[in-house]
Amino acid sequence: MDNVITATNLTKQFGHFTAVDQISFEVERGEIFGFLGANGAGKTTAMRMLCGLSKPTSGIGTVAGFDIHTQTEKVKKNIGYMSQKFSLYDDLKVWENIELFGGIYGMNDQDIKVKTDKLMYELNFEKERNMLVASLPLGFKQKLAFSVAIFHQPQVVFLDEPTGGVDPVTRRMFWEMIYKAAENGITVFVTTHYMDEAEYCNRVSIMVDGRIEALDSPKNLKAHYSAKNMDEVFQKLARKSQRKE
């Protein structure tokens, strides 16, 4: 088995508060891995540790074969990241954002140009190419942010609630983009609040109060908790939560 992400007893404490409590899991190459949990369950903290944005208090983790304690810069070269907050530059044009992030990951002008042309065509963004990102509708921005996050062909892409506040049609299109990325061999690690989206994942983990309470394919989880859909599974697990928001 080819694991792109491994976590063993990964823990993060802020003072006396344990945000992430000894979580262990593996993610296979090319998998779409859903990372579920209520607000404050520790999803984002766990993801930030894997991305090298936050140092783990204890436990071991590897991403793309590199240690998240000691080789964070190497980890960063091999991942893409799209955060909850929209994180492209509003005051740069669409192509300028792409150029910036392409350049940061070591692509040259020529490669960037060729790939930008292709991307603009695929996204049907040719009209918007020269527009400032600030003037795009939210759905467009999210699609662009995702495309930028995988522009340099990372091994893994981390998506932190990528579809927050987006209409159902755009969400649907967004998930099509995720599938396409997975087909191209990019492992997708995604957190979400939408339980219908959880159904699209190959496997999901559900976090409650900093621990992983369940981890399996949506089908197996539904069978195990004898639930109609993922929403019911989630309700059953999340009800155990002791934490207040």
Binding site: G52, K55, T72, K76, S83, L100, I104
Partner: protein, 371 residues
């Protein structure tokens, strides 16, 4: 990689609605307004004269005072108490009382006394009014001695010491000559210290900095990309300063421009390094603004812009020794007024280099890509 980061910074600055205007408007504002407002030269002091003599001498003295350009006669009071009233009413700043028999006593070589009383509510103004008036009276005195000497009975040997004053480097004691180069330093400090810091904290607030932190961009490059645009801006600003100084105040450095450019480049690195350190610790724009405001206020007060550092108490001198503004201000004044070159300013050069290395190392260390 730096190339792409720089493109980003320049594009953002260019598109900013406020920044490009600030870069031109701020130096113009400061250089056109401050030298006139922040000067110790006082004109149009109001004087009340109580002339109890009403002689040709007393009239001549009055005439001399009024024609001096510094004083404006508010009233000829009948008595000292009346003059005092006009001071109380804020109408006049200083009283000159000429005693009866003023002329007679002078001619008889008995010596005459006049009395000056200044309103010292504003101590500075009162002091200056007093100094001006004393020097006018001394001049009057000197011309009288010259006129009366041949006639005087007891002239045998009055040896007078003549003091020949000469002010070097700023012959007319023009405050603007002194202020303008120092103001350029203040402008550079504010623009190049504030703006890079604001730009980083702004990215923190927007969350875009996270996208940088999760990328393989080395911290040094990220910081360098923030600094380089402000080098360019700083050099534009200093050139605006040169033009205004020349066009409005007729000031041209006595030394070389390249000495100033050389120091400017090092100085910008110093202040923007300081700004970057602050931005690394500040979580919000307000926080950053207040911290920078604190530092700038102390730095400007203790820079020698208004009050000479030599006249400060010992502890303030020590604080000032750690003030990069002070050194660059010394450089600017020395180059503008005395024409000093880099070799003569080696102390300031060493200090500024030390500051810039120190600040920028701390800035890189304190910038954290992870928490």
């Amino acid at each position: 990689m730096l190339k792409y980061l720089l493109r980003k910074e320049f594009r953002q600055i260019k598109r900013n609605a406020f920044l490009p205007r600030l870069i031109f408007a701020f130096p113009l504002m400061v250089l056109l307004v401050f030298p006139w407002a922040a000067s110790y030269e006082i004109k149009n002091l109001n004087i009340s004269i109580v002339d109890n003599d009403q002689s040709s001498f007393s009239k001549a003295l009055t005439q001399k005072i009024i024609s001096s350009n510094y004083f404006r006669l508010t009233d000829y009071s009948v008595s000292y108490s009346a003059a005092l009233k006009s001071i109380e009413a804020q109408k006049s700043d200083i009283i000159l009382q000429i005693p009866a028999n003023f002329e007679k006593n002078i001619i008889n070589a008995q010596g005459a006394k006049v009395m000056l009383s200044a309103n010292a509510v504003n101590g500075m103004k009162g002091g200056i009014a007093m100094t001006y008036l004393v020097s006018i009276i001394n001049e009057f005195n000197a011309s009288l001695i010259k006129d009366l000497m041949p006639l005087s009975k007891s002239t045998t040997n009055i040896s007078t010491i003549q003091i020949d004053q000469q002010y070097r480097f700023n012959q007319n004691l023009n405050y603007r000559v002194f202020m303008v180069p120092a103001l350029m330093v203040m402008i550079l400090s504010l623009l190049c210290g504030f703006l890079p810091a604001v730009s980083i904290v702004f990215e923190k607030e927007l969350g875009t900095i996270e996208q940088m932190n999760v990328s393989p961009v080395p911290k040094v490059l990220f910081i360098l990309a923030k600094l380089i645009p402000f080098w360019v801006i700083g050099l534009i600003v200093i050139n605006i300063g040169f033009v205004v100084a020349w066009a409005v105040y007729g000031l041209v450095p006595a030394g070389h421009f390249y000495t100033i450019y050389f120091f400017t480049i090092i100085y910008i690195l110093t202040v923007s390094g300081l700004g970057l350190i602050i931005s690394n610790f500040a979580q919000s724009l307000q926080q950053a603004m207040f911290i920078i405001f604190f530092f700038m206020l102390v730095f400007i007060m203790l820079s020698g812009l208004y009050t000479p550092i030599d006249s400060m108490p010992e502890w303030a001198k020590w604080v000032a020794a750690f003030n990069p503004l002070k050194y660059f201000m010394e450089v600017m004044r020395a180059v503008y007024l005395k024409g000093s070159d880099i070799l003569q300013l080696w102390k300031q050069l060493l200090a500024l280099i030390a500051f810039s290395i120190f600040f920028n190392i701390i800035a890189v260390i304190s910038y954290r890509k992870s928490s």
